[in-house]
């Protein structure tokens, strides 16, 4: 009973730390994007605007108020879903985000669905044959794959599958998808590219998590008892490794956030990351701020889930 209370306290504590971190992150992003003062109104009206109209727009946008007040109202807008007005698209940022975010989430979901089973299989196999030929080959491959830039994988995928073999189109517009075949052809290459990097990370971390369990004394006991290696791994070690593995999966999925920026751009995929890259190019600050906050929120959420899984699956807190 006391352990349940302890676990609950740890969980609440961790969620609190996460919320606090998000607040600090929002302050950092707001500060960076507001260090150069007052340019937003000038930017929106162009060079030919008179000082009076610039001042009027500045007052209308609330840019004449001091920093902390602007931060507070921006933060309030974030919470209530009012993200301001885009400079270049002249429509609410919320609307822009609403059209792009589901596409990015779908891309991430498909990538996760493909990469998680493959990475888990690779990681568990490598851990079971620790030190063997398969393990060494996989270690070398994953060690190399994590250092390969996403655009190399993407360009080679295009050269191979779109130019040489002509299996898939090179761009993934993802506008009117009618049937499964079309869906497959649209998502194959972006997903393939993203999987490449994520699988390497995830397999490495899964391997480490399973090896950690395999070297525990209860596993040694099972081996001494005469249980077969597959049984030791699947029946004894794996149930206890689920927590660490889930932790590894959540953490590796956070690598998607970096990869998706490159992948959406190169395949012209209309997701949130390509919206952000365009906004950075056009210096459309409200959109940049909103996208950065969404990506940082997603990142913190994944790390939080990873930590919570680790806390809740810790057998010392579950039983005893």
């Amino acid at each position: 009973m006391a352990d349940k209370a302890l676990a609950a306290r740890l969980v609440l504590n961790r969620i609190g730390v996460g919320a606090l971190t998000l607040l600090v992150v929002s302050a950092v992003i707001f500060t960076i994007t507001n260090l150069l003062p007052g340019d937003a109104a000038q930017e929106a009206l162009g060079q030919s605007a008179t000082p009076e109209t610039v001042a009027a727009l500045r007052a209308q946008l609330g840019l004449d108020k001091p920093g902390p007040i602007r931060y507070a109202s921006w933060l309030g807008g974030l919470v209530t879903g009012n993200l301001g007005q885009s400079f270049t698209a002249s429509m609410p940022v919320t609307e822009l985000v609403a059209t792009r975010l589901p596409k990015s989430l779908l891309l991430a979901a498909v990538t996760a669905a493909v990469s998680v089973p493959i990475a888990l299989a690779i990681g568990i196999l490598a851990a079971m044959g620790r030190g063997g030929a398969l393990d060494r080959a996989l270690s070398l491959a994953t060690l190399s794959m994590v250092a390969v830039p996403e655009f190399l994988v993407a360009t080679i995928a295009v050269l191979l599958f779109a130019v040489k073999l002509r299996w898939f189109p090179a761009l993934s517009n993802a506008v009117d998808i009618q049937d499964a075949g079309q869906f497959f052809r649209t998502y194959a290459m972006p997903v393939l590219t993203l999987c490449f990097v994520v699988i390497a990370q995830m397999a490495r971390m899964t391997r480490a998590a399973v090896i950690d369990q395999l070297s525990a004394s209860y596993v040694e006991m099972a081996v001494l008892k005469g249980a077969r290696p597959a049984r030791v791994a699947l029946r004894h070690a794996l149930p206890n490794a689920i927590g660490p593995i889930a932790n590894a999966v959540a953490l590796s999925l956070s690598y998607l956030l970096g990869g998706v920026v490159i992948v959406e751009t190169i395949f012209n995929y209309p997701g949130l990351a390509s919206l952000m890259v365009d906004a950075v190019t056009n210096r459309d600050m409200p959109v940049v701020q909103a996208c950065a906050m969404i990506f940082c929120f997603a990142y913190l959420l994944l790390v939080l889930v990873a930590d919570l899984v680790a806390i809740l699956s810790n057998p010392r807190l579950r039983h005893r």
Binding site: V28, P149, F151, T155, A170, V261, V288, A292, C296
Partner: protein, 285 residues
Amino acid sequence: MSAMPLALARSGWRTASSLPMAGRVGLFFVVLWLAVAMLGPSIAPHDVGAVVSPDVFGPLSAAFPLGTDYLGRDMLSRILHAARFTIGLALVAALAASITGTTLALLAATAGGWIDEVMSRLMDAFISIPSKMLALVMVAAFGSSVPLLILTAALSYTPGAYRIARSLAVNVKTLEYVLAARARGEGLAYIAGVEILPNMVNPMLADFGLRFVFVVLLLSGMSFLGLGVQPPDADLGSLVRENIGGLFEGAPAVVTPAIAIATLTVSVNLLIDALSGRATRAAEN
């Protein structure tokens, strides 16, 4: 006088020849790329901006070993110049991150108390901003320039270096000879610099190598998006971007700079893994 370098070279050779195969391959490419960064522009066969062929996106040939780019410039010369940019920027940024991270960590670990607490909390918050997001926000706010890119990359990777260095320093701090120095009444600066620092140099060097890889990937990614190094300067990522139009013709100009980046980053990774693997094996024996 001349005995020192000779002995160094000899022990270096012994280390190199005791590495596993992957580590030797890594070492070969690391040395090759460092040489390119130092000598690159002077051994380039053509001027970096010169249009030397009427053939745009030309194939690999005897005259142009890596083909030609979208304007008919020699790709080999372009890559030799760009590599210096990529490696130079990444070295400066990674060094800045490692040195800042290590210094702050030593300060936090030796001072302890609230200084340690506040600094560690701040670093934890900063590490929660993915490096690409920070870079995009910085470029959106200030526009892209070489000093800004270095600052951004250094900012992004300082918290990671800090974390590793702090955990190393906290461990070393509890060793007996450090306690002895404290009992002797040595100052904090002496304890941090003379007693603790020398014992964390090796793992921090390995960490520096990893930060270097991260910075290369981050900055070439930004250049690939058109938000990193700006023309007329070009790093390896810019070369991929400016030639992306040749992708559908299967032009080598798109892939060769990307492969150049991968050989650099993968080989640094392989070398570090082999070296730290050697260190663990030596510790186990």
